[in-house]
Amino acid sequence: MFDQLLIGGLATGCIYAVVGLGFTLVYRTLRMVNFAQGQVFMVGAFLGLSIAQRVHLPVLPLLFVVGAVAFALGMVLERLVFRRLYHNHEVFVVGSIGLGIVLTNAVRVFFPEPVPFPKVFGSHVVQIGTARFQEAYFWVVVSTLVLVVLLHAMFAYTRGGRALRAVAADAEIAGTVGVNVNRAIALTFGLSFAVAAIAGVLIGPLYFVSFDMGDMVGLKAFSAAVFGGINSIPGTILGGLVIGVLENLAGGYISSAYKDLVAFVILLIMLIWRPTGLLGRDTPVKV
């Protein structure tokens, strides 16, 4: 039972971690929280569904195509929408929630009922120790690892990635040394959309996809990001895994009804005890 819960929790935790990365990327750059992140995850799942229903693609190209489309969508929305919301965080919070409502209900028009996702990852049952789980769980974990390694490589070794880090550290100074700040912000949104959408495709085959699937996942991924440190990429990944495992264990051993409570209680305790999160660094203003 423990193995089963642990592996299930790790897979869910990976999803929280990847969606949470979207929050972290935007937060590091702008000190804003994009509350449409969960809805982008949902749109990603439906994007994957629409493509997989029409063309038979293997897993990797499918993930790549969805990521690319979501990346473009993020860039476009940054240019048209987000750029007008940078006044202060209240405006950004409400504006992005409004965008989330638009996305949810636009998808709802086309898919009012939950839809099964094609089994793009195959449907073998794998056994490790006493735990039996679908092959798709394995894919979720592997894809997350690959995604994180790719992101790390991009931030550490490419010129564009270093530019993004510079903007995150201090946009004004990055601008004076020749980084195109506006483009870096647009790329940040593109990246955050891409990772969330890929997470949507990863989770699709495990459950049904529905227009409201992003609401709870988005908020839990957000809790995960805050728990691990919303300005730290390793922190967010750690936070996602910890929350995924803890809530699965709580659901298995304590009560399945209060499973959803775990993430938010952790969020509240963490904010009061240590607002920067486990691995976060900069201290928030707390006079």
Binding site: V33, R84, H87, E90, G98, V226
Partner: protein
């Protein structure tokens, strides 16, 4: 302000009040029904104004606090047989206690960190309402909540209920104005502008912030009380994050630190569900667009258009 201006203000106030009092005699029942909701929602919205507008702390937990007020009275009247009026103070008190217990430590957090904490509070309350089935009936909600009544006279129709909501809304408006005009209001504005400067002139920042939180919860609890006895049915989904977002938008759309603006925005947005009806299944998309476009183009509230014009008009006078 000159005496003639004070006099004019009184006249305007009296005229608005007279119009509101006469309103249900002319308006159809359904319009009165909507008006009741608008008046009820002004309470959580004004309450949120204490935190958001005056203290600079954006809360996304007001829907949950409103729900705590509504559930307290719903459970006391249906499960313990209290008369509705007797549950008013317990509902308000319960809301305040819960808000301070959950949010008292979080209110010292600055800016976005407080928003994050209130999202946690909102979700915790909602999940508990949904899952503590023995107490709250969970997803079934609480049905047949009694109507408020004095003796045999029971406020069962929208028209009868209207005068109660109007009275409560007017009292809440006047009280809120008083609070804002008081020393506490001054403290709150000071600490929202510059917390360090405020604390240096002996404003007890921590206590002022917790007081603002308690006040906002009290207003939410009172609103929840009215709501429960008007709709006479409560369900956890009525008090979810969507409701909190709605109250936040209502308190922001009106403009910065204007209680009248908050009331106006509540009216505009609450009736939105009515005038968005022609959009049919695209209604919620239109609603999301209103939030998004409103924030994109009027980040300081819709009333800024009106104010810009009046200030341009009065600018020549001085």
């Amino acid at each position: 302000m000159t005496t003639s201006e004070v006099l004019r203000r009184w006249w305007v106030g009296a005229a608005v009040l007279a119009a509101l009092l006469a309103f249900p005699a002319f308006a159809p029942r359904y319009i009165v029904h909507i008006a009741n909701f608008i008046l009820i929602y002004t309470l959580p919205v004004i309450g949120l104004g204490f935190l958001t507008g005056f203290t600079g702390r954006v809360s996304l937990a007001q829907g949950a606090l409103f729900g705590v007020g509504a559930y307290t009275t719903a459970l006391l009247t249906t499960k313990f047989g209290w008369t509705p009026i007797a549950t008013f103070f317990p509902s308000v008190l319960m809301t305040v206690v819960l808000a301070v217990a959950l949010g008292g430590a979080a209110v010292r957090l600055a800016g976005l960190y407080f928003v994050m904490a209130t999202i946690g509070i909102q979700q915790i309350v909602w999940i508990v309402l949904m899952n503590w089935i023995d107490l709250t009936n969970g997803p079934q909600g609480v049905r047949s909540i009694p109507a408020i009544g004095l003796g045999d006279y029971r406020l069962e129709t929208p028209q009868k209920f209207y005068f109660l909501t109007l009275a409560v809304a007017v009292i809440s408006y006047i009280l809120a104005k008083r609070v804002i005009g008081s020393r506490l209001g001054l403290y709150l504005r000071a600490l929202s502008d510059d917390q360090l400067a405020a604390s240096s002139v002996a404003v007890e920042v921590g206590r002022a912030k917790v007081t603002a939180l308690a006040l906002s919860a009290a207003w939410a609890g009172a609103g929840g009380f009215l709501y429960a006895h008007y709709v006479r049915y409560v369900h956890p989904d009525m008090f979810g994050l969507e409701a909190s977002v709605l109250y936040l938008v209502m308190s922001m759309f009106g403009g910065y630190r204007s209680i009248a603006g908050m009331v106006l925005a509540t009216g505009l947005l609450e009736s939105a569900t009515e005038y968005l009806r022609p959009f049919g299944e695209f209604r919620m998309i239109a609603y999301g667009m209103i939030l998004l476009l409103g924030m994109m183009f009027f980040p300081k509230g819709i009333l800024t258009i009106v104010r810009r014009r009046t200030s341009a008009r009065t600018a020549g006078k001085t």
